[in-house]
């Protein structure tokens, strides 16, 4: 398992851990039922606070990505498409929120935004029909 923590101001550390573990679970790099390092050892190895790793694991468990067996530790939960879709939806929402705030700060209205999105979608319509990404 690979975790890289960056010191960016925008992403709290627990979020970074969450995201990276999630991505590895979704991509299959972390297979089902694989044991995750304990909250404590992960914290010590990354030299970060145990509170943060605990928070990350709690969130992962809440979202169904991992499960805990008392006394044994945390394990990767079964990966399913619903979970992946849910995750991507959240990402889209987050990005849209960023876009909205940016737009507001330079005075672009909701309609203008919708137009921009439609243009973009149409421009890349070919990719959409072929179902691939550039």
């Amino acid at each position: 398992m690979e975790i890289i923590i960056s010191n960016s101001v925008n992403k709290p550390i627990y979020e970074q851990i969450c995201t990276q573990i999630k991505n590895q679970i979704i991509s299959g790099a972390l297979p089902e039922d694989e044991a995750l390092p304990s909250i404590r050892s992960l914290a010590k190895d990354l030299r970060i606070s145990v509170i943060t790793t605990k928070r990350a694991y709690d969130e992962l468990e809440q979202e169904g990505f991992i499960y805990t067996i008392a006394g044994k530790g945390c394990f990767v939960a079964k990966r399913n498409t619903e979970m992946i879709r849910e995750e991507n939806l959240k990402k889209i929402e987050g990005l849209l929120e960023e876009v909205r705030m940016l737009a507001r700060s330079c005075g672009i209205s909701g309609d203008e935004l919708a137009d921009m999105l439609r243009l973009l979608t149409e421009e890349n319509a070919e990719d959409n029909t072929h179902g691939g990404t550039k």
């Binding site: 030299r47 145990v50 509170i51």
Partner: protein, 284 residues
């Protein structure tokens, strides 16, 4: 979760200084950093926690035991201590300290101690009074780690050490807390050290506890904004903790989630948070 240390309403009055009504908990398995300027009350707090000086008011519970009870003497077996200016008598040598500590602590591990002495490259038969400050600290740390303690109490344990050694020692403290029942209370004015390994930060200033928070929550909550002097007024009032105006611009500490992303923000360090809370406009 159990608490390694519970402090409630701790108060101590001296001429010209009062430690006033300090309360905080150190959860078991965590590392708490006590920060504050010299004379803020960090050492006093530590001495009160260990009952080395008598408190005027409040209660202190260490590892489940009231520190004024008779049972506390046995609890000291589980506590490793490194103090700022109080040491072994100057004529002691590391070799002698080994013998002396073997008679002091029930679970003294001579092999472990000598391992640290070698690792720190301390001369076994040199007298304490000929040691540099760094060497004195290393010896004290070696002693503190060698009797199987559950709690480490460290008063300025890293000051006087060069950065490489400090890093090694912080690593040791980090490793110490791999066990879930091992905790550390560590005071320092070198905030960068605390920022590396602490789970909680308690900030003491002029005898009062300004805050005691999870370190990562603190770092997520605040951010630094660097902008032109006039732009400071564009920041929402509740978001601004403090601002420093310079010749070419201003620097402010803000609450991150109350400030729009249009402002360029940088991560605030614990030291920034300390400074702005004390000196900035908003001391809450």
């Amino acid at each position: 979760m159990k608490n390694a240390i519970e402090v409630r309403g701790l108060t101590k009055k001296y001429d010209g200084f009062t430690l006033d009504n300090v309360s905080f908990d150190l959860p078991e398995g965590c590392i708490m950093g006590l920060i504050g300027e010299n004379g803020a009350g960090k050492s006093t707090t530590i001495r009160l926690i260990m009952d080395a000086i008598k408190r005027d008011a409040g209660s202190v519970m260490v590892l489940g035991c009231d520190n004024e009870s008779d049972a506390f003497r046995d609890i000291k077996e589980d506590i490793g201590v490194v103090l700022d200016e109080a040491y072994f008598p100057e004529y002691i040598t590391p070799a002698f300290a080994d013998k002396m500590m073997a008679l002091t602590y029930k679970r003294w591990d001579s092999a472990k101690y000598n391992g640290y002495i070698d690792e720190f490259r301390l001369p076994r038969d040199k007298q304490f009074k000929d040691f540099s400050r760094g060497m004195k600290m290393k010896l004290a740390i070696a002693v503190a780690l060698s009797h199987d303690p559950k709690l480490l109490i460290l008063d300025e344990a890293t000051s006087g050490l060069d950065p490489i050694i400090r890093d090694e020692i912080l690593d040791m403290f980090n490793e110490f807390t791999r066990e879930p029942d091992h905790s550390i209370l560590l005071s320092s004015h070198i905030v960068s050290d605390l920022e590396k390994i602490c789970d909680y930060i308690a900030f003491i200033h002029q005898g009062r506890l300004i805050f005691c928070e999870e370190k990562d929550a603190l770092l997520d909550e605040y951010a630094m904004v660097k902008c032109a002097g006039e732009q400071v007024d564009d920041l929402p009032e509740e978001a601004l903790i403090g601002a420093k105006y310079g010749k070419y611009g201003a620097e402010c500490l803000v609450r991150r989630d109350m400030v729009s992303e249009a402002f360029e923000m940088e991560r605030a360090g614990i030291e920034d948070i300390m400074l702005y809370m004390v000196k900035g406009d908003g001391l809450k």
